[in-house]
Amino acid sequence: MSEHKPNSVPPPWAGRILVIFFALCAIVLGWDLFVDREVHHPLEEWPIMYPVFGFVGISLLILISKVLRRLVMRREDYYEDE
């Protein structure tokens, strides 16, 4: 193993992957608006429920985790003197 100078510049393909990914998101979102699917739960009757659930759920997860970090984070050697 060797250490090189850290390079924080993202590779050129990273942007292209993001564009393709967001295009895929748009396609699956549109799909839900035009095609019927099976429904088992009252929530599923809402259009674009799954995309909204995925985005809002993860957003809440990240935001709540940031609050949790304020409560539970300690220095790395917190348990070292046990």
């Binding site: 895929l24 699956v28 699917r37 099976e38 985790s65």
Partner: protein, 571 residues
Amino acid sequence: MSSVPPFLIFLAGALVVPFLRGMPVVRAAWLLMIPIVGALNVMGIQEGYQLQFEFLGYTLTPVRADRLSLLFGYLFHLGAFISIVYSLHLKDGDRPTLQHTSAVVYAGSALGAVFAGDFITLFVFWELLAVSSVFLIWARRSPRAVRSGLRYLLVHVVSGVTLLAGAMVHAHQTGSLEFGLMELEGLAAWLIFLAFGVKAAFPLLHSWLIDAYPEATPTGTVFLCAFTTKVAVYALARGFAGTDILIYVGAVMACFPIFYAVIENDLRRTLGYSMINQIGFMVCGIGVGTHLAINGAVSHAFNDVLFKGLLFMAMGAVMHMTGKTKASELGGLYKTMPKTAILCIVGALSISAVPLFNAFVSKSMIMSALLYEHHYWIWPVMLFASAGVVEHAGIKIPYFAFFAHDSGIRTREPPGNMLVAMGIAAAACLAIGIWPDLLYGILPHGGEAAEYEPYTYTHILTQIQLLCFAIGAVAAFHLWKIYPAEIPSVNLDADWVYRRAAVKVTRWTGAVVSGVDRAFRGTVLKTVDRTLRGAFRAHGPKGILARTWPAGSMVLWVSILLAAFLFLQFF
């Protein structure tokens, strides 16, 4: 039946391993033979077979083979084979004899537990699991690993003792030691349930997993992730299928770790939280208890050994090559470890339940069972947990290890055996995802009630929508630069209670008791001292009671007394 008890092959195989020291090729061949011979043996065991004998008036059943135990039997042979392949490179400095021997005993113990038909046999293998696996933690030899291993051993021994206590009460009440389906009523059932809960990492009883797994050796963690918790899942499926409380316990297990996983810096510890999250799905399915739900739970346990093992193997490979597992110290490794990166991504796609990967065909059975049984409040909770998996295991693990900012570390691919093991696990993840009948064919429940078709139009579309927008949220938070940064730190969890609070309470109690004791003894000593001084003053050489009085003095006092009496006579 021409087969032998499955655990015997492993325990006998482990006895030989110490004698193969210094013969790495022979030892590798021997180690690989153990799960292969074991698998051939277990395939020869017929459903319904039982090995029984009488002992002290009780019937013991060291081997009971039905579809449930056989499924876990196949799984543990596969898990043992992959883990052994992964650990073949161990050199003298890694304590290979210790690690290989304890790993093989550990795998054999897991097999013994899932084929146990009575509580005594289960207890023996339950404890042997703990005792054999702790050496995979101690083999790391760091002071932290030693302390962590001690805590791990203590928790699991207590779990075993609780199981034994429950089994004794159960035997006293029912006159039988048979391990079968139970109602969660009475002391015996609750003790047994608690013992299973410790090993299954129920909420607040889970800290041993987060504490110990990341401290084990890179190869040891792969073994650990395959057996202990899966034995507990098996035990719950066998003993408490359909117990309502498990639905809620499972939902909590699936949810709370994903918050910790977001902020955890150690990627192997992140996988520990991920493991509890996945066990939550299994526990929830066991709680629902229908044939479809049980099939979903055990098939997810099967798949978890593969995809979680693959992720642990990938992080183990990174640790083996760089000595680091912290997100804040890694990044950019795809440049020098591209094969490991691709295999890690396969594991990430599998655990995220992407169509064509194995979790897609197992987790959805549990989700569908929740809907079919009208658990309408639990279903969205589990859907949230499902999206959360994408964040921490689907993106965080491969992203921070192999991509993200370039850490500057330049290394190379891990040893060939590690790549082969990861390749086998990745191939299995894909094979089950593409041909789910490979797994569905060996599930415990058949028939119409357990029939399931994962590849429906609705399931594929909704899962892709959920995953895409969950990933989209992570990407957006990264672009907006509000995603939690990787910070070298530890996060307080339930283990704080016994690692910090209990220590502080013990010290405080000790100080109070010591103070009271000191004050009491001081007071008593002072009183004794004062009494002695008083006595000394009166009776000592110069004391008033020690004086020698002259005869004249006596005559004087007698005269005074007589005069007093005379005087009193006048009244």
